[in-house]
Symmetry: C2
Subunit: 308 residues, 2 copies
Amino acid sequence: MSSLRGVVTDPAARGLIDDAAVLEVSGTKLVLTHDMIVEGVHYLPSDAPEDVAWKLVAVNLSDLAAKGAGPLGLIAGYCLAGDADWDDRFVRGLGEAARTFAAPLLGGDTVAVPEGSARVLGLTAIGSAAHAPARNGARPGNLVWVTGTIGDAGAGLDIAAGRLEGPGGLAERYRRPMPRLAAGQALAPHVDAMMDVSDGLLIDASRMAEASGAAFVVDFARIPLSGDFEIALGNDRPARLRAATAGDDYELLFAAPPEKSEEIGRIADRLGLLMTMIGEVREGLGLRLVENGEEIPLPSRLGYEHGA
Amino acid sequence: MSSLRGVVTDPAARGLIDDAAVLEVSGTKLVLTHDMIVEGVHYLPSDAPEDVAWKLVAVNLSDLAAKGAGPLGLIAGYCLAGDADWDDRFVRGLGEAARTFAAPLLGGDTVAVPEGSARVLGLTAIGSAAHAPARNGARPGNLVWVTGTIGDAGAGLDIAAGRLEGPGGLAERYRRPMPRLAAGQALAPHVDAMMDVSDGLLIDASRMAEASGAAFVVDFARIPLSGDFEIALGNDRPARLRAATAGDDYELLFAAPPEKSEEIGRIADRLGLLMTMIGEVREGLGLRLVENGEEIPLPSRLGYEHGA
């Protein structure tokens, strides 16, 4: 989105560094986001159209979750590429995901694209939030947390692509990510910064650190791995590195004052969702990794970097 | 959008027959629309990127205008196709159009597409409205009106494509459509139905008639043509037919009770925008054309039909 930066000046855009725009209308915080996925870039051509639709809905709702918003509705904009069966299954998938997350489909636009063009699938999600934590609010002294487990979807992609063997639950996490809507809304009043983890835990943590003008020290040993992930890839340092740099987690990364830890634990218990303290915010700038109290070097690649 | 109809059931979607979704939030009517344009389908590959951006903004704001809404913001979703100069000029054009219509750009998403794929450019516009007239509210006894002049952009496209010679103002109306935002907001409280004319006056009038369950009788001789259009194509029946079936007008078509005619005239004077009574709504169903009091046959093609 860097190319848009020069022309996007409204404060509601939050300088384009956030997951979504936040607009105040009649005292309500409206949260708006638009994410697109492209055939062959963001999903495998062999992926089921229902799963592609689910992912499109989930990635947008994950942006709402990161801003503490509940969904008001979805507007789809997508290409028809001459395969009516694919399109029908995609639309059914949109409907299924919309129902699952109580995010009504409100309309949209379809366009035909010339022969040979990649499918481009876009979705706008709108939600409302009582609190809409920004990405740039982390402060020295905060603890850094993440919901759920990390790296499952990345391993699942490798399984789906036939590059890895492992439990079916991992492929399911790649195929059907679950936006953390309830957790986002419950956490929002208690956190200083929140975002979703979509491009890899390390790269997203480094973005939150940069946006906040602070240093994030992440304890590598604390990165939460699932049992399925450990079966497929183990839990040594290379496995953790793979988990922490893989994309498509759609978990929430947040920073909160230490005195909120008890409340965060209560929310985790209530929702039955793991919430793990993985590090802390310090004076300084950038991301640092430690393991067993010793600093370890950052990998050369922190996660998925967008071309734009 | 027919394929979405089975899964879009929320009343805010207005059954997908309307130009936009209307969502009530904290007593405010939010109007949401998403329109896409595709290279080689909705614009000429030779069109200037600034003009393509303008058109993308204008077609979405025209949907807001049709629902009586003023813009709150825009969210862009577009493809990068490996031509940085094109992309820069497109983004500058987005900024220019956004400033012109006081519709702040709030963010969005960019995606890279594989080599050889057509550019797909999407935009979501959100606005708020005090009144949001639907497309389906026209009632027998209403008069049918249209803003501005009809057919200019269609002639302008032919000029831009080198198929016609004529005044430069026509090409300008194709290149830089002006969404009727002020007119839409001023008219909204006084009309029973309103929509924008994007696919051709006749096809859009037939859609309003069908949605309203009424018959529209349009007086062919009353269709407002510009001086430029008459210079290029004359004003005989074939010329009027060409005007009334050409797309990209982005004028407003509305139906209002006869007792509102005086108020409509005052609004037209205040805004300096032509508003022409072109027909009336009767019991029955469908579109009929008359000229000098005599019924004339409908052309076989009423305007631009979407593939979807």
